[in-house]
């Protein structure tokens, strides 16, 4: 199986608005894939379709051998899709470590009675989760931030915490929605190096929405371009850069000539 995710003719209408128009899309296992397009092209909507926040109007989405279109988010997360959000959505009043622990929810088994009576199995699970949460925080570059409230972390650290939290769900596919938005060039470079290492060390597949073309062209192995809800191009960064329709979508008709 070489594609971790295949979307077939996925369509999403909001009333009369066609946000995603019969998009076919595949993510090859182990690659870093970028989804780009002008504002309002339907990128985030497409993300939300993949993660179950929205139910597609039509079409199917196959992830790792399961048809996931229309499944609720927690089911899709459990199957192995982790995500971050465009406007950071941490649990602001929880500490960094607690945020990561929440990410482990689907991978833990403690029940209500077990938790109340503190049976050994639950206690062991808590200890292990705690240890793993601290490791993940350190891995994401947040050493020593365990007990800081998420809302009080600096912006870049909040982005990293979102990734750490997504990693805690043990994803096979990690979706990053504009991970470098609001970062300065230096932060962007460091962050992208982190994403690269992630893919290599955690054997992940990564799909990201990104606006920064240097980032997209620098890191992705494959780029898909959406415009007005339609896929207008797909290919390697080099191919995309030369594509007429992409240039037209970004710069307007006639700009390419």
């Amino acid at each position: 199986m070489s594609d971790v995710l295949t979307a077939t003719r996925v369509r999403k209408e909001f009333g009369g608005l066609l946000a995603v128009n019969d998009v076919d899309f595949t993510i090859p296992t182990g690659k870093i894939v970028s989804l780009i397009g002008p504002n309002g092209a339907g990128k985030t909507t497409f993300f939300n379709l993949l993660t179950g926040v929205y139910t597609p109007t039509a079409g199917r989405i196959d992830f790792d051998g399961h048809q996931v279109a229309g499944e609720p988010p927690h089911v899709i997360t459990k199957l192995g899709v982790g995500r971050t959000f465009q406007n950071i959505r941490l649990f602001p009043q929880m500490t960094a470590k607690e945020n990561v622990l929440v990410g482990m929810h689907a991978r833990m088994n403690a029940g209500i009675l077990g938790s109340i009576f503190g049976i050994p199995r639950v206690r062991r699970e808590e200890r292990e989760a705690d240890k793993r949460a601290r490791e993940l925080l350190a891995y994401a570059g947040l050493r020593g931030r365990d007990h800081h409230l998420a809302r009080n972390l600096p912006y870049g650290d909040q982005r990293r915490l979102e990734v750490a939290r997504a990693l805690a769900t043990k994803p096979k596919l990690l979706l990053l929605d504009e991970p470098t938005a609001g970062m300065n060039p230096q932060e962007t470079v460091t962050f992208m190096e982190f994403v690269s290492t992630l893919r290599d060390e955690q054997s992940l597949t990564i799909l990201m929405i990104e606006h920064d073309m240097r980032v997209v062209m620098g890191i992705s192995e494959r780029v898909t371009v959406l415009d007005y809800g339609e896929k207008i191009a797909e290919g390697t960064p080099q191919e995309i850069q030369k594509d007429e329709r992409v240039i037209e979508a970004y710069l307007g008709r006639g700009a390419g000539t």
Partner: protein, 400 residues
Amino acid sequence: MSAPRRGPSNERLERFARQWGLVLAVVALGFLYPTYVGWLKGLPLVGDYFPTVGSMVIMTVFTMMAVGLNIVVGYAGLLDLGYVAFYAAGAYTAAWLASQQFEQVTFHFGSVGVAPTLSGIHLSIWLVLLIAGLFTTIVGILIGLPTLRLRGDYLAIVTLGFGEIIPQFVRNGDNVGGFDLTHGTFGISPIDSPGFGSGLSSLGLPDNYRQSFEAERLFFYTALALLLVTVICSVRLRDSRLGRAWIAIREDETAAAAMGIPLMRTKTWAYALGAFFGGVAGAFYASFKSGAFPADFYFNISVFLLCMVILGGMGSVWGVVIGGMLLGYLNAEGLATIGSKLSSSTGIDFEPSKYQFGIYGLIIVVMMLFRPTGLVSERRRKLELEEGVHDEPLYASQRE
């Protein structure tokens, strides 16, 4: 930690003492209250303000309900304005299973102080408490499944509706297809007393609470034990996988779902567990009062319990215990004591108990102005105060 090495047991003991020392002291003081209340009441000036043991029972039971409600409102952030429904469900379970209500049958099991020929179902109150809890849990799940899909204000309104439906049902339940289920506005009375029966009296356990010379004291000890169990369960749950999921949902539902938390199931559990403690408290209270009357289950009880939670500090178990005891005291006898003191010393004819809900409202308004997180802030809210907060939100929190 570079502290000198200690034996692990020693260290654990120390941590235990630090964590629970104060709690144990308070619990001990609580259990000893009946022994020194006489002395307290003898004190000059302030003596009259100390609650009687009977009032303490009521305060403790209501505090137990507030701690249960705190699971729903404080942890999971689900505004429930109909908690009184669970109190009613618990009280009526006790009324059905430990009284002469169903005179068609005669079934006795472990009941005390009841003639064996008396008609009706008479189960041991201890068993009834458990059954009431489980029954109320089921009621909670049944109410929760359709309503918990709603958010915020809409949820509050629907729970308010259910909080009215159940008391209305018991008020009119004296003719359910010709069957007298709830005895209508008269309520069901008397309800059997708790007790351990004569078999266990050799162990020092009381035979029958109500026939004992120190009935109030026994009820108080039991209520306090029930509250203690509720608090322990509540703290354990808060620090568990489920508790984190509740708080995550309170903070951001969409993100919580994206982290693999099943929203409906997790919210329903909050509702069901909150209901469980409400049901047990309701059943115990019904046995204490020896009756379940529809007039006890008005909307104002829901609001009263919510006031306890807000005053104490939403999400903070110890805060809710303090808030519950405080408001419970004012309600049970505090306001009346203050009123009579006031009129006897100044001659002004003022009865604060007539204005009780105005007074609770005022307390809440003052709290919101000066200490919005409650008397005892939840740990994470305290962290926020200590660490300081960025003035501007870093991200828009609107729904995608």
